[in-house]
């Protein structure tokens, strides 16, 4: 017994080391991603001041002041360093060119919306897709399976942009109802929050859960053929016990991996749906900034979305290791 305790402690120790290692690995990735974003925004478009002033003819002096104000006269690496430092000290790239709002306060306002939307979607997708995947696998090639397969095909291939417009149109024409225009946080007005968030969550979850259902189904089908399931069956265990105790845990693992793999799709979807449903999240913020060429805002928000996708992947990776005890925590095998 004592030996087991030591072993468990060692394993836990290994896990902490692994988590620390993964966290450390995120730093260079974020740095590299921010460099890509910075370079794309600074090098490609030529003179930013021309872009900012748009079609309006501006005299050179005004442009020079603007350049000075934005710090564009410094060399690139100094500009990049200054931007990075502002990410650390909480200024997040300064102020919006358009509204003059501090980007930090912008993020404070927008981030919860996006986190809630993506969080709801992931939770709903997992809750729905595991039973549906198992159902489809258990009734393979019968009508429940066919139904699930058609539904997932629709979820994967139908553009959510159009689905969202159709939903809004249907609600408007059939029920004379549209979601509230003003967003309310769940802690101020839960009912209004639910009304605003329900449809975008459902539409995003349709696509997201389609990925999960497909993976769950195929890995459940695979585990039906495994020796341990045959053994469990031959012991005389009832069908539902076999599915819940033996098929489910093994079908869950690839499905959890899928949550991480598809997070980029989810964030891209959130960008569009926040715009269509008028949710004041990071995605809509980025779209607005992109249209008004609000460079500091685009830079910071794009970086933030990349960080979000990396963090979700990290969390998924951790979860994956909790669910599947076979995975080792060895630092070398980690990536």
């Amino acid at each position: 017994m004592a030996g087991q305790g030591v072993e468990a402690a060692l394993k836990l120790n290994e896990m902490y080391r692994y988590i620390a290692w993964r966290l450390a690995l995120i730093v260079p990735t974020v740095l590299a991603a921010s460099t890509v974003i910075f370079l794309v925004m600074r090098v490609l478009p030529g003179d930013i001041t021309l872009v900012i002033s748009g079609d309006v003819a501006v005299n050179p002096e005004v442009r020079e002041t603007l350049r000075e104000e934005l710090g564009l006269n410094d060399s690139l690496h100094i500009q990049y360093g200054r931007w990075l430092w502002s990410m650390v000290n909480g200024e997040f790239g300064g102020r919006s060119l358009e509204s003059q709002e501090a980007i930090g306060s912008m993020i404070g306002r927008q981030l919860p919306v996006t986190l809630l939307l993506t969080g709801y979607t992931i939770l709903l997708s997992i809750v729905v897709s595991v039973p549906l995947g198992l159902l489809a696998a258990t009734w393979k090639d019968r009508w429940p399976d066919r139904l699930v397969r058609v539904a997932t095909l629709g979820g994967l291939a139908l553009p959510h942009l159009w689905i969202a417009l159709l939903v809004l149109l249907g609600l408007l024409l059939l029920f004379r109802w549209s979601p509230p225009i003003i967003y309310d946080a769940p802690w101020t007005d839960p009912w209004s929050h639910l009304q605003v968030m329900a449809w975008p969550t459902l539409i995003l979850a349709w696509e997201y859960s389609s990925h999960l259902v497909r993976v769950t189904r195929s890995s459940a089908l695979e585990s039906f053929n495994q020796a341990y399931v045959t053994t469990a069956r031959s012991k005389g265990l009832p069908g539902y016990v076999v599915v819940l105790r033996h098929v489910l845990p093994n079908a869950l693992i690839p499905s959890v991996t899928m949550v991480g793999l598809q997070i980029g799709m989810l964030i891209s979807g959130a960008l569009i749906l926040e715009t269509i449903f008028g949710l004041p999240g990071i995605g809509r913020g980025l779209v607005r900034a992109a249209i008004s060429r609000d460079y500091p805002v685009i830079q910071t928000l794009a970086t933030l979305l990349v960080v979000l996708s990396l963090v979700v992947n990290l969390v998924v990776d951790m979860l994956y290791r909790v669910i599947d005890p076979r995975v080792s925590y060895s630092v070398d095998a980690g990536h």
Binding site: L44, L153, A157, L169, L173, I272
Partner: protein
């Protein structure tokens, strides 16, 4: 078929191709359906000038917001423009951008992926870390900052989408080449002194291409959706060209309730295209898997 000249296989090839259509339709109805739908959309795009019943750009105030009917199949929008003609011309823009984006993503993506797998070692590690970083970007975020940086033009949109897709294709191509790199015929080619270029071009690429191709077919749909999304949020194909994304945006912003058909039909065309390309990608992958299973089976039984 015996009356054909045996030394001239061309007509036989054509006959075999045409003769293959019916068995394909019976064996794989979904694939046949997807191919038919895609061919319809593509020919509508190519023959837009013939198929369109009206000029897609001409405004006619007397014909504002007309519902679908015999004169305007898909109705008219708030400027009295014929939506059917705009959808057909929009197909041209949307498909062209999607196609160009996939080609521009596939060529560097496949080359870099194949080279990375072939070189192995440090160059491979470096390339893969760069690709890791790019894969950390949600596709639309990468396409969006590229579209902002490159400015509003049709070609810029295609480049932006291509740059967002290329890392994914590179990763696929690398995996695919890695899986066959150790095969006997590659060893044999190396043993007889074939150059690296020859090994990659004649052996690795042709043999790793099919699975990558299946994925790329699916990416075509993704590229068209990305174009629609960028145009919808106002960063895509500039006016006056109708693209499906811009039509959806105008439909939703300006006369959503007054003319639902202005939102429904462009989206329908988009969905048919994307659904067929996804289906076709699935079917091609399925077919390749089966083909490979047949090819591997006898060997594994030995």
């Amino acid at each position: 078929m015996s009356h054909y000249d045996r030394h001239n296989p061309q007509p036989r090839k054509l006959i075999r191709f045409l003769g293959g259509i019916w068995p394909l339709t019976r064996a794989r109805p979904l694939a046949a359906l997807a191919i038919t739908a895609l061919l319809l959309v593509i020919s509508a795009a190519l023959l837009a000038d013939v198929v369109a019943t009206h000029d897609p750009l001409v405004q006619d105030v007397s014909q504002r917001l007309k519902p679908p009917g015999a004169e305007h199949y898909f109705g008219t929008d708030g400027f009295g423009r014929d939506i059917f003609s705009r959808v057909v011309h929009g197909a041209r823009v949307s498909l062209l951008v999607g196609f160009a984006a996939v080609v521009m993503a596939a060529v560097p993506g496949i080359s870099i992926g194949a080279l990375s797998a072939y070189w192995g070692g440090k160059p491979d590690l470096l390339i893969q870390r760069i690709i890791d970083v790019l894969l950390g970007f949600p596709i639309l975020v990468l396409a969006l900052i590229m579209a902002v940086a490159l400015g509003p033009s049709t070609i810029a949109v295609a480049i932006a989408i291509a740059l967002a897709l290329a890392p994914q294709i590179a990763r696929l191509a690398r995996a695919s080449v890695l899986s066959i790199k150790g095969d006997t015929y590659v060893e044999a080619a190396r043993a007889v002194g074939a150059s690296s270029f020859r090994i990659i071009w004649r052996h690795l690429l042709p043999n790793s291409f099919p699975p990558v191709l299946a994925q790329v077919t699916g990416y075509f749909g993704a590229a068209v959706v990305a174009e629609t999304a960028l145009s919808f949020i106002g960063l895509g194909v500039p006016p006056p060209f109708p693209s499906w994304g811009r039509m959806l945006q105008e439909g939703a912003r300006q006369y959503f309730e007054a003319a639902p058909w202005a939102t429904i039909f462009p989206g329908l065309a988009l969905s048919v295209t994307v659904l067929s390309s996804a289906l076709l990608g699935d079917e091609v992958r399925d077919w390749l898997d089966r083909k490979r299973a047949v090819a591997i089976e006898p060997r594994s039984r030995e």
